[in-house]
Structure formats: structure tokens, C-alpha cells
């Protein structure tokens, strides 16, 4: 078997094991919620008999192992049960939210990847000078500040003082893609501020290594212009660590979504999980959280494979 495929299968296998453990963890956490689901749905004033009937109807009076198997086999088929809060299928509610979150994440990524890479390369070229310090120290400071604080700074500057962008992320029904995008700029920028420092730091480190490498010196000695050397030799190598860091930050990004979606009143997956947690809607909660976990594992897997494809040294060397 070629090393690349063997590596892929190994990673996939490990990913599936992780996913299995994750589903158990999620199920366990969701069932920590106060035991009597029927009581939570019907409220404190309904009689015990109707509570028992509802519990039986929902199947929550069965053993935990049965409930887990039932949930997980349904989940795989796309049937995640009914939301306790809305009494409609969970997937019907989660799916549009998932799409919304992906839109927001896509806007954030499209902004942060080029900005982070260019910022990092620029800082590396000015290594040790003021511009470098501003990009690295400034970028890292923003990764540490809670996202809702930097988001509020953005809202005040661009929404309130300048009035350039709307201050809520939700656009009117049937709005054109352009309007939707306009609403997503501020929340997207808020996510960019959290991520920029990580991406810029990795791309800076990659660029500095590449600038010191022998092949770069050879390229210069061949008489290539600085611009060509950077475009053909340095950028490609600066890209690799950047992909790796994007993968490791996905988990954090998904967590930030929860906060940003609430702040901008945006109906995304984070907002769904947040309301599900508030209303103790545990069928929605467990499927929503598992979905987030799957999203994380898929992104890491894709990033690992991209990393491998772009880096022949690893492809032929360390894939074993």
C-alpha cells in the first residue's frame, strides 16, 4: 500500500475512535441534565401521570445503553429524534443553523487566511523592526482578548461611529447575497481578530526558515528578483505551517462562534446549542455538540492531508 493511503487510513481510523469516545462523552454530559425530562418539558404544575406518559413516549425511561444505541444509530442515518423544546425533528432545525455558521466561518476564513499569511510574510521581511513588533505583539494580544470585547470595539468603530456596517448579523429574509455578506463582515472580522495572531505568527516563522534556507540563497544567486524568490520559493513554504495552525485553531473558532453569534444575534449552530442548553433540550444539545465535534475532526483530517500533499518531504519520508 502506498504510504500516503496508509497514512490516510490510519488517521481516519484514529479519527473514528476519537469520534466514538466523543459521542459517549457528549451523551454522558447531556444526560447529566436534571433527570426527569418529561417534568422539564411539561413544567412543575402538570400531574405525574402525564409526565410519565411523555417520558415513555420520548423513550427516556429506558436504560441508558439502549438510549445511546438508539440515538447513535439514528444519528448516522440523519434521524436525530425530535427537539424537546419545539417538538419537531432536530435535524430540520440544526441544518439551516449549520449552513448559517458555515457562511460566517467561510467569511472569517476568507478574510483571515490571506491577511494572516501576508501579515506574517511582511513581518518576516522586516524581522526585528517596528512593523514586525506591531504585527506579532499586536496580533498575539488580540488572540488573548475575549472575542466579545474585540467585537464590541469593532461595532463601536465601524457600526456606531462610522456607520459602515449593520450591527446585527441576521439579514432580512430573502436578502441578496450582497446584503447577507454586508451583515457578516463585522462578526467575521471579530473572528479574524481572534485568529490573525496565530496565522501571522506561523506564517512569519515559516517565512524566516525559508528565507534562511539554501535553496533561497541559490535562487537569489541565480539572479532572480526578490519578488520572484518570495512568490516561488518562500510563500509556498510559509503556507505549510499556516495550514497546520488553522487546523489546530478550529476548535477555538467553533467556541468563539457561540459567543459571536449571540452578540450579533445570528441564528447559527452556536446559537442553537446555546438555546438548547438554556431550555434543557437535550436531544438537540447532544446532536448539536456531536456535529461540532465531527466538524472539528473533519477539518483536522483535511488539514493533515493537505499538509501532506503540499509537503513532499513528509509525503515520502515520515508518513510511515
Amino acid at each position: 500500500m502506498p504510504p500516503l493511503i496508509r497514512f490516510f487510513l490510519r488517521r481516519l481510523g484514529l479519527g473514528l475512535i476519537t469520534l466514538f469516545l466523543l459521542s459517549i462523552t457528549v451523551f454522558a454530559i447531556a444526560h447529566l441534565l436534571p433527570g426527569d425530562v418529561g417534568r422539564a418539558v411539561l413544567g412543575p404544575f402538570s400531574d405525574q401521570q402525564s409526565v410519565d406518559i411523555l417520558n415513555h413516549k420520548l423513550g427516556v425511561d429506558r436504560p441508558l445503553a439502549t438510549q445511546y444505541l438508539d440515538w447513535i444509530s439514528g444519528f448516522v442515518k440523519g434521524d436525530m429524534g425530535d427537539s424537546l423544546q419545539y417538538q419537531v425533528p432536530v435535524w430540520g432545525l440544526l441544518q439551516p443553523s449549520l449552513v448559517n455558521s458555515l457562511k460566517l466561518a467561510a467569511v472569517a476564513f476568507l478574510l483571515v487566511v490571506p491577511a494572516g499569511i501576508l501579515g506574517g510574510v511582511f513581518a518576516a521581511l522586516r524581522s526585528g523592526r517596528a512593523a514586525d513588533r506591531i504585527i506579532t505583539v499586536g496580533g498575539l494580544s488580540f488572540t488573548a482578548i475575549p472575542e466579545f470585547v474585540s467585537a464590541i470595539a469593532l461595532i463601536i468603530v465601524f457600526g456606531v461611529l462610522l456607520g459602515w456596517f449593520p450591527v446585527t448579523a441576521a439579514s432580512p429574509d430573502g436578502a441578496s447575497p450582497g446584503t447577507q455578506l454586508q451583515h457578516l463582515i463585522l462578526p467575521g472580522l471579530a473572528l479574524v481578530m481572534v485568529l490573525f495572531g496565530y496565522v501571522a505568527r506561523m506564517s512569519r516563522a515559516g517565512t524566516i526558515t525559508a528565507l534562511d534556507a539554501d535553496y533561497t540563497r541559490t535562487a537569489y544567486l541565480k539572479g532572480l528578483s526578490t519578488a520572484t524568490v518570495i512568490r516561488r520559493h518562500v510563500l509556498r513554504n510559509a503556507l505549510l505551517p499556516t495550514i497546520a495552525v488553522i487546523a489546530t485553531q478550529t476548535g477555538g473558532l467553533l467556541g468563539s462562534l457561540l459567543v459571536i453569534e449571540k452578540l450579533f444575534n445570528y441564528n447559527g449552530l452556536g446559537q442553537r446549542i446555546y438555546t438548547a442548553a438554556q431550555f434543557k433540550d437535550f436531544t438537540m444539545l447532544q446532536s448539536g455538540v456531536l456535529l461540532v465535534g465531527i466538524g472539528y475532526l473533519v477539518t483536522t483530517l483535511v488539514a493533515d492531508i493537505l499538509y501532506l500533499l503540499l509537503n513532499p518531504r513528509i509525503r515520502y519520508g515520515e508518513a510511515e
Partner: protein, 290 residues
């Protein structure tokens, strides 16, 4: 005792050397000053503040002026006094949560890294699984189940941080395990817990201390985020994130410039505290790298 352990006198002088370097590091000193200021405010804020941070008045939503330096909020409370006293809860919860996470993570990481083999594989898989759900989402779920209080916040954030810390400690332990002094201790038939905690732990203390400061920064970040979502510190505490949750919706009122003072000052306070902690972490990192 391992024969190869450094004599105490040498360890002492190394410690003094590290301390001397820290005091010469500008980032570290600035960080200590900022964090020190907020610790002072957390302890003595109530006595220093010009107004009672909880006292309501009819002067609601006044813009900053000579009477109220940072203006007043929707209940007519003095924002300046609330910012001065707002560090109290977060500076109680975050360090305690960090402590729980560091202790838990060190035990798990040392065990996993030292024992290796099957135990390491199993622990690493579980750590991966927990790490694949964002910290905030796990915390929200558990806090809903258990209800929010200072104790649950500390325990939940501490437990969520455990796998993250354990990764760092495990990596450091793997490097130490190959050292001669560990081999010597093994040949000397020392028991595993003794080797782990008395021989290896002192040698991985550097990374553990750096990790603790970095974690403290994230703990403040997490407590603030959870509070913003309504699952952390509860009103009427003058906590900074509580102030922001209570007032951020006013920002859409652009005619009154969004009553910006109700959120800008607490926001700046959170930012300065987190940056202060990170400057300390940065200074420590450099000192231990030398």
C-alpha cells in the same frame, strides 16, 4: 535519591539567575504592574471607589463627566466604581480554576508520559476526544446541568483545562524519560510514583509554570466568555463581563452613540488584565528558554 540530581546549591543559584532575568525583562515587569494593579483593585476596590458600585440612582445612562468619570449605566450605577471593583470575581475564579487544571493535567500528563505503552495510548485517545469539543461548549453544557456557582465554575473550567495541560506535561515528560537520571532511578528500583513526582516533576517545572500563566490568561478569557453567555458570574456583581452582557444591546441605538461608555470601559479593563497576564507568561517563557 538519584545520584545524578543537581546539588541544591546549584539549583538555588539557577533560580536566582532566572529571577534576575525576569526583573530585567520589560514585558514581565509591565505585566506584573498591570496585573498587580487589578489585584489591588480586586481587594481594596470598594474602599477606593468614589461611589458604591451597587447603588442605583435616577441619573441613568449619563455620559462620562466630572461627577461620573465613566458615566452611569441603565440603573444609574457609577461605571467608574463598577470598573474598579469588577476584577473581584474573575480574579477569584480564574486562578483557582487554573490551579485545578494544572494539578489535574500534571498528574495525567506525567502518568501518561512516564508509563507509555497502552496506558499512554488510552489516555491520549480520551484527551483527543475531549479536546475535539470547544472548551466553551463543554463548559456551557455542564454548567447548565449542574447550575452556575463559583465552585462549579472553578471545577468545570479546571477539568476542561486538564487535558490541555496534560498534553504539554506529557511532551516534557517524554523528553525527560530518556535522561540518565531516570534510568538510574529505575535501576535503583525506585517506585513509579516516586520517580514521577520527585525526580521528573522538578525537572519539568519550567514548562508547567509557563503553562500555568498561559492557562490563567485563557481562564480569564473563558470565565469572561461564559459570563457573557449568562453561565458564569451572575448579576448584580459589578464583574466586567456582566456589565457588558447587561448593556451590549444598547449599541444598536446609534442615535445615542450606542451608550458606548457602558461597555467600552469594562471591555478595556478585561483586555488590559488578559494582556497583563500574557506579558507575564511571555517573560517567563523567555526566562526559562535561556
Amino acid at each position: 535519591m538519584s545520584v545524578l540530581a543537581a546539588p541544591p546549591a546549584k539549583a538555588e543559584s539557577a533560580r536566582i539567575e532566572t529571577l534576575r532575568m525576569l526583573l530585567h525583562s520589560k514585558t514581565f515587569v509591565v505585566g506584573v504592574v498591570i496585573v498587580g494593579f487589578w489585584i489591588f483593585c480586586a481587594v481594596f476596590g470598594e474602599r477606593v471607589a468614589p461611589h458604591d458600585p451597587l447603588a442605583q440612582s435616577l441619573d441613568i445612562l449619563q455620559a462620562p463627566g466630572s461627577r461620573h468619570f465613566f458615566g452611569t449605566d441603565t440603573l444609574g450605577r457609577d461605571v467608574f466604581s463598577r470598573v474598579l471593583t469588577g476584577a473581584h470575581d474573575v480574579l477569584l475564579v480564574a486562578p483557582l480554576a487554573t490551579l485545578v487544571g494544572i494539578v489535574g493535567g500534571t498528574v495525567v500528563g506525567l502518568t501518561s508520559g512516564y508509563l507509555g505503552g497502552l496506558a499512554d495510548d488510552v489516555i491520549s485517545r480520551i484527551v483527543d476526544a475531549v479536546l475535539s469539543i470547544p472548551v466553551v461548549i463543554i463548559a456551557v453544557t455542564v454548567l447548565v446541568a449542574l447550575g452556575s456557582s463559583t465552585l462549579t465554575l472553578v471545577v468545570v473550567i479546571g477539568i476542561v483545562f486538564t487535558p490541555i495541560v496534560s498534553r504539554t506535561v506529557r511532551a516534557a515528560t517524554l523528553a525527560e524519560r530518556r535522561m540518565d537520571y531516570v534510568q538510574a532511578a529505575r535501576l535503583g528500583r525506585e517506585r513509579a510514583p516516586y520517580i514521577m513526582f520527585r525526580e521528573i516533576l522538578p525537572n519539568v517545572m519550567g514548562p508547567v509554570i509557563v503553562e500555568a500563566t498561559v492557562r490563567l490568561g485563557y481562564a480569564i478569557f473563558t470565565v469572561a466568555g461564559l459570563t457573557f453567555l449568562g453561565f458564569g458570574v451572575q448579576p448584580p456583581s459589578p464583574d466586567w463581563a456582566v456589565q457588558i452582557t447587561e448593556h451590549y444591546t444598547l449599541l444598536s441605538d446609534t442615535a445615542h452613540s450606542g451608550y458606548y461608555w457602558t461597555v467600552v470601559f469594562p471591555g478595556a479593563a478585561i483586555a488590559s488584565l488578559v494582556i497583563g497576564v500574557n506579558l507575564i507568561a511571555d517573560g517567563l517563557q523567555h526566562a526559562f528558554d535561556q
